[in-house]
Amino acid sequence: MLPATVAAGVALLPVVYLLVRTAEAGWPTVAGILLRDRTPALVARSLLLAVAVTASTVVIGVALAWLTTRTDLPGRRAWAVVAALPLAVPSFVAAYTWVSVLPQVSGFSGTWLVLTFSTYPYVFLPVAAALRSTDPALEEVARSLGRTAARTSLAVTARLARPAATAGALLVALYALSDFGTPSLMRYDVFTRVIHTSYTASFDRTPAAVLSLVLVALTVAITVGETRSRGRAEYARIGSGAARTAHAIRLGRATPVALAGVALVAAVSLGYPTAVLAYWVSQGRSAGVDWAELGPAGLSTTWVALLGAAAATALAVPVGILAARHPDRGGRLLEHLTFAGHAVPGIVVALALVFFGVRYAQPVYQRTPLLVLAYAVLFMPAVVGSVRAAVSQSPRRLEEVARSLGRTPAGVLRDVTLRLALPGVAAGFALVTLTVMKELPATLLLRPTGMDTLATRLWTETGVGAYAAAAPYAVVLVLLAAVPTVLLTRVQAHPDQTGAVEAAAPTALQEVGT
């Protein structure tokens, strides 16, 4: 309880800063900012973008998950790996590949396109994990009750995959609302871009703080909505009966159509960015790659990413366990508080911590700890979701048995609950490492003096139109981020290695996206 409260406190730090800022400004000023006619339009644009991106990622993510886990799609294991790989392409790198070659792709459609194909793995991965590990007996029962294969998938599979899909959709919606790089490059005025503009354009940071609070209100509303839809269903299956693999559904004549769809998604999300990057790299060859700067930037990116992921995981584990085991008011409230921290755009978290650092933590200001703290605030929810899903999947009966065999509550936590949640926690850790590597706005503002990460170098070069010079950083960033992505998909593709764990926790042990 105490560690979870600390975690929630850390997550709330930026919001508290925003409230302090706003309170200092006084109500008339705040009302003035809220009532400006561009504020409602801003809300509408941001919501439109979030809804559109979420809808398209759910369609793509669920379809790909179903095709690669439950059908006889040729090469489905390979496709499952490919479908997760866009996680390794930072959305602003993808945006850069479009802007640098096809400048006409911009505004709403450009932002929607880039965000959809960058973030659908957040839906795909947890849904695929859920589909892969649900008990086929449920589907078999539905079949035996007279449902066709297709209707079974709709009725039973969709039901079982729903918690994973909604959790993934929540992440996508939050991502779409708080992404800064893509709308900035696409010149689409959503909250993050306007907040950034008003931060940099004037010394008065009050408008940015007020707008950020509106944005936080939106994301809190979305999070609450997701929890409502999650409902009371607990998918923990008592017992350890061997979970069998489901029979694949024959696609038959639909196979070419399915293959074409899967290939199209891969082409847009991976093929196109890769081709453009290759083009810019070959263009920049003559200029030569500055290895002396590339090496240290890659190392420091990896280092801060691992630190950030470790901090986020350490803070998230108690919250996740609490949310899973005590889904009452207290547990949910704490979980939601940590989500609110995630929903604050990176740039706001960064500036909040600048403020905090200058006033209260001068020794770590512009040093690694403060940056790691920012990462922890930003990415804790990703791990909280994994932990919650993994823990609620492990049957309570196992914990009771462990108690009766002489384990103390702490021993049960260590030897059973956490041990069973480990794949989920590890998946969350990997996901956060990956995400931290791609993080831009907080890194820009909080990086230690003299330290460059790949993302900041890429940003600097792109900012001055040096697309060819930016390309090597983008490539290394993609390669680095690909490592955890591939590890993640390997765990996904070989459930037999964790078969024993899945036997007791079939639905979402590896619910990685949440």
């Binding site: 350890s240 009966r397 048995v401 462990a402 108690r403 009766s404 002489g406 078969g499 764990v501 007791a504």
Partner: protein
Amino acid sequence: MSRLEVRDLHKSFGSTAVLRGMDLDVPSGALAALLGRSGCGKTTLLRVVAGFEQADAGEVRIGGRTVVSGRTGVPPERRRVSIVPQEGALFPHLTVAQNVAFGLPGRARAAARRRRERVRDLLALVGLADIGDRMPSQLSGGQQQRVAVARALAPEPDVVLLDEPFSALDAALRGALREDVRAALKATGATGVLVTHDQEEALSIADLVAVVRDGVVVQAAEPARLYREPADLETAQFVGEAVLLPAAVEGGVARTPVGTLKLLRGDHVMSGRGQVAVRPEQFHMVRPGRGVVATVDAVTFHGHDATVQLSVPGGTDDPVRVLCRTQGPLPDVGAQVSLLVAGPVSFFAAAGAS
């Protein structure tokens, strides 16, 4: 010693009272069966004894140690009570051997050999000698239950609780497993409590059967005695098939449509009207001239025996239907036979009569 005593245990969930003054006394080393329909409170009793649920009032003692007293209780890990859940609930991340060793003390290297030996002995005891390296998901349902039993016995608990451990298995497997589990329990000397809704299971393996209804133990007795002398009509019907006949008791015997029958506990029965419960195997078809005449309505052949449905003229009333279990030659439907009742029967006074 590890006698289990439950005294006046109460437990409610919200406004629903599940245990309403439960009493149970299981002698050390005995295997007791808690028999009842689903929702009667038997599983809740098990969970309170294990320490997973907190009682509202009452007391539980194990070998003289008080583990539950009112709302307070010893934590589960210090009760020396282990449990075999319905579906085994093996730890999916541990091998069979690691599962069995889970409750064994000692992490030191010196203890490792002793632990290995103990695990081997326990697995042999439940008839699974060479599967220590397998994962639970590689086992059949019956094997998983055997491992769960070995795991429960490993820390040498005072009491082993078995929560319908055989209900998910098929009948053939169940019989053999029951016998082996009983033998394993006896070999270790642990006191056992088995929850079941299967009367045949309860009667065949337990030393003591406690019939649970509406949160209380209505009768606890040895299986044979429970079967012969059920405490009330409902119990009589629950623990086996019973033919209920109207009866008038006078002078220690019951007058019924099938003749005058001897009574169990005849001395205690007052005169009056009510019903007697006769087990189908107490009816015997005999040569004409003795007993009462009955007409054969239907014959159902089971292989090892057969049940014959008969009707006996009920005087002025409708004919009385009785069920007779027989291993002898089968009569034709419609034939007239003579019926005798062997052994004493139980009498239950009609409500309101004395």
